[in-house]
């Protein structure tokens, strides 16, 4: 019995052709970096772990998250947080509503929910941003909010699909550190897909090249 995210004999194929096969365990707080040319199936791997793989892609193997077999669960029930290249904050909601969208209901009062959202903004040094229109934030700020929206949903693992690629060089390091620090603090296994060698170095964990 091991905690963390276990990819057990995972094999993804397209029309009979094997795109990738992988067997790895990512311990809580660790980062597994996946690098490779475009078309190598990096993002497909994340889609599979997140529960979004669609035909014509096919996959075999098992996904074990903290001793739970999540292989056949729907995305809603996996408790796996997903970040894409762009922050994808819901454009029709305020920053607060985006964060509230991430926060599970779990028997909290309205007041407790509001407090949790304020606290999460505090964590990333964006205390006064609750009422802002996401479209008026900088790229780095949007990524921070997207990250907090994700963490408020209390995921047990993080899937990062080149989440820093849209940011400029100076912001990138800051955000990378923030993401890895928060993941470590919460003991979340991280699966990171990237083009950028620097991302892989900063992540520090295992590296898989496809």
């Amino acid at each position: 019995m091991t905690l963390g995210l276990m990819l057990k004999d995972v094999k993804i194929s397209l029309g009979g052709r094997t795109l990738l096969s992988l067997s790895k365990t990512v311990a809580p707080g660790d980062v597994l970096t996946v690098m490779g040319d475009s078309g190598a199936g990096k993002s497909t791997l994340l889609e599979y772990v997140g529960g979004f793989l669609r035909p014509p892609f096919e996959a075999t193997g098992r996904l074990i998250l903290n001793n739970r077999d999540i292989t056949t669960l729907s995305p809603q029930d996996r408790h796996v947080g997903f970040m894409f290249q762009s922050p994808l904050l819901f454009p029709h909601m305020s920053v607060r509503d985006n964060l509230l969208f991430g926060l599970p209901n779990g028997g909290m009062t309205k007041h407790e929910r509001a407090t949790a959202v304020e606290a999460s903004l505090c964590d990333i040094g964006m205390d006064d941003f609750a009422d802002r229109d996401p479209a008026t934030l900088s790229g780095g700020q949007q990524t921070r909010i997207a990250l907090m929206r994700l963490l408020l949903a209390e995921p047990e693992a993080l899937l990062l699909d080149e989440p820093f690629s849209s940011l400029d060089q100076s912001r990138r390091a800051d955000l990378r550190d923030l993401v890895f620090r928060l993941a470590r603090e919460r003991g979340l296994p991280v699966l990171l897909v990237t083009h950028d060698k620097e991302d892989a170095d900063a992540a520090g964990g295992d590296l898989v090249e496809l």
Partner: protein
């Protein structure tokens, strides 16, 4: 299973009435309709039909005007896009044509009539100083025997439709970049477009073009207002025969409805032949550059200006005439104005106006719900094949590819047997057949273009499919959804034949009433009804624009996201 239910419902709602209607036309065409005393099959209705004076001229007129209108509408649209894409003129035309799409056929025809009639605005503008007329000239400009005015009206109505369909297709076919490539290779704009973009663009707008052809060869309302009368094209003559008290003539009418089906089918065959010839002639590999195409493009712009200008001038004349008390020939402006018709609107047009809304709003809402249900089910279903999608898109278009008069006749018979004819419910159902396709067409692309990652993020945050639909997809697509509903309302307002036939003359909308008035000479009253046909869709589109603008006033990104 559930994912197929909405699709099956939509197909049933569209194809069911179509097939039932065609069957209901076929039987009486061969003499079988017990309600009218036709107990056995015979060829008499067909024989009577072909013995009718002028029948072949009517057939020729329908074919000729329909084909000419379609060829010219398509040519103007394609050549204009080719020559002017990306220019300020293009942007201006785009801005003017978008609202013109919502103008009902009848209103457009009245506008054109007010513009070009012997006593119309153009002659007034030129008289007497240029023409010497101090009385309206005795010329057959409207209702001319060759159907020129009618063809012109059809072109003015169909160019906006084809243009907007093409606009939607241009980005999907990567035409902007292809044009850059052909330009750097030294091709003139028009040659570059025709050789590099047209094949793909045309294959994507082909169904709308075929719909235009079928509509143009079987149009009734425009033909009654602008078309020849001695004889009229086939479709309006059928309407006359259907209203005849003599049962023999009514059997002949259903034979004619069948003939109309064959006629529009023949037009399609001719069109397919023309497509082949065009493909054969299009030597895209000849290497000819046609660099100096400026004069040609300018003449295309002139053609487009006539279409847009004629339409705009025509529909501006409607509100002016609706407040006219006296406007003597050859004055360019009315001599005296009155708001009498508008202040007494409730008495003059209140009932038809309410009927129009009471049919149009529910029809468009039901169409909207069905389309949303279908799209959402398709999005949730895993792996819907593209063949299945294409088949559905074809089905949705089917009612637009069959002449209305051919299956509405049978549908009327069917509703009469169910004792539903003349009810608003039946008329609404009849409208739905035509409202549904347009609502689907206008919502489909925005729905498919929505970034699927929003839903992925929401579901990885633990949201159920219903919550994603209600809190993410619906608000993000609120703007195109409301526009689609407004399109649905506009389509419903414009329906003449379904209202008249299924309503059995007892359901009166602003459109059927305006056609009923068209033979009388009360121009202000006709203009009032024409203006109302413009106003109802206009209000619909304004509401569709105002609601998201208000809801999302503090959300910058919602202004660009479709």
């Amino acid at each position: 299973m559930m994912s197929r239910l909405p699709t099956a419902l939509v197909v049933l709602l569209l194809v069911g009435p179509l097939l039932a209607g065609l069957a209901g036309t076929l039987l009486p065409a061969f003499g079988y309709l017990p309600a009218l005393g036709g107990q056995e099959l015979s060829l008499r209705p067909l024989r009577d039909l072909f013995a009718t004076p002028g029948i072949f001229r009517s057939i020729g007129l329908s074919l000729g005007t329909g084909l000419a209108a379609t060829v010219l509408s398509l040519a103007i649209t394609m050549l204009f896009v080719a020559g002017w894409m990306g220019t300020p003129a293009f942007k201006l035309v785009r801005r003017l044509l978008s609202p013109l799409l919502a103008v009902p056929h009848a209103a457009a025809a009245f506008g054109l009539a007010f513009l070009i009639a012997p006593s119309g605005f153009l002659v007034r503008l030129l008289s007497p100083w240029a023409t010497g007329f101090d009385r309206p000239p005795d010329l057959l400009i409207l209702n001319d025997p060759f159907g020129v005015a009618m063809t012109l009206g059809l072109i003015m109505k169909e160019v906006p439709f084809l243009f907007l369909m093409t606009l939607a297709v241009l980005p999907q076919t990567d035409s902007f970049r292809k044009m850059k490539v052909t330009a750097t290779l030294g091709y003139g704009r028009t040659a570059g477009f025709l050789k590099a973009c047209l094949p793909e663009v045309y294959s994507r707008i082909r169904l709308p073009v075929l719909a235009v052809l079928v509509y143009s060869t079987s149009v009734v309302d425009m033909a009654q207002i602008l078309g020849p009368t001695t004889p009229a094209p086939l479709a309006p003559r059928i309407m006359g025969w259907m209203a005849d008290p003599d049962p023999a003539i009514r059997f002949q009418a259903s034979a004619a409805a069948l003939l109309q089906l064959a006629l529009s089918g023949l037009a399609l065959l001719i069109w397919f032949l023309l497509e082949r010839i065009a493909r054969r002639l299009g030597h895209s590999a000849s290497g000819k550059r046609h660099r100096r195409d400026r004069p040609f493009n300018l003449s295309v712009l002139a053609g487009m200006s006539i279409v847009v200008g004629g339409m705009v001038a025509g529909i501006l004349l409607l509100p002016i005439w609706s407040v006219t008390k006296s406007w003597w020939f050859p004055d360019s402006l009315p001599a005296a104005l009155t708001a009498k018709l508008w202040t007494g609107l409730g008495e003059v047009a209140g009932a038809p106006l309410l009927t129009t809304l009471a049919i149009g709003i529910p029809a468009s809402l039901i169409a909207g719900i069905l389309v949303l249900w279908h799209l959402e089910a398709k999005t949730r279903a895993r792996g819907v094949s593209s063949a299945e999608k294409a088949a559905f898109d074809g089905f949705v278009f089917l009612p637009l590819l069959v002449p209305q008069v051919s299956f509405l006749f049978g549908l009327q018979v069917l509703f009469a047997r169910l004792h539903l004819d003349g009810t608003m419910f039946a008329v609404g159902l009849g409208h739905l057949i035509f409202v549904l396709p347009y609502v689907y067409l206008s919502l489909k692309d925005p729905w498919n273009e929505l970034d699927p990652r929003f839903a992925k993020i929401a579901s990885s945050l633990g949201s159920s499919a219903n919550r994603i639909f209600l809190m993410v997809r619906l608000p993000l697509l609120l703007r195109p959804l409301l526009v689609a509903l407004a399109v649905g309302l506009a389509v419903s307002v414009g329906q003449y034949l379904p209202t008249l036939m299924i309503g059995a003359g007892r359901v009166v909308t602003i459109t059927t009433e305006s056609l009923a008035l068209s033979s009388g000479g009360n121009r202000p009253l006709i203009a009032l009804y024409g203006t109302l046909q413009l106003l109802v869709p206009l209000i619909g589109f304004s509401v569709a624009a105002a609601i998201p603008a208000l809801l999302f006033r503090n959300r910058a990104a919602m202004k660009v996201i479709r």
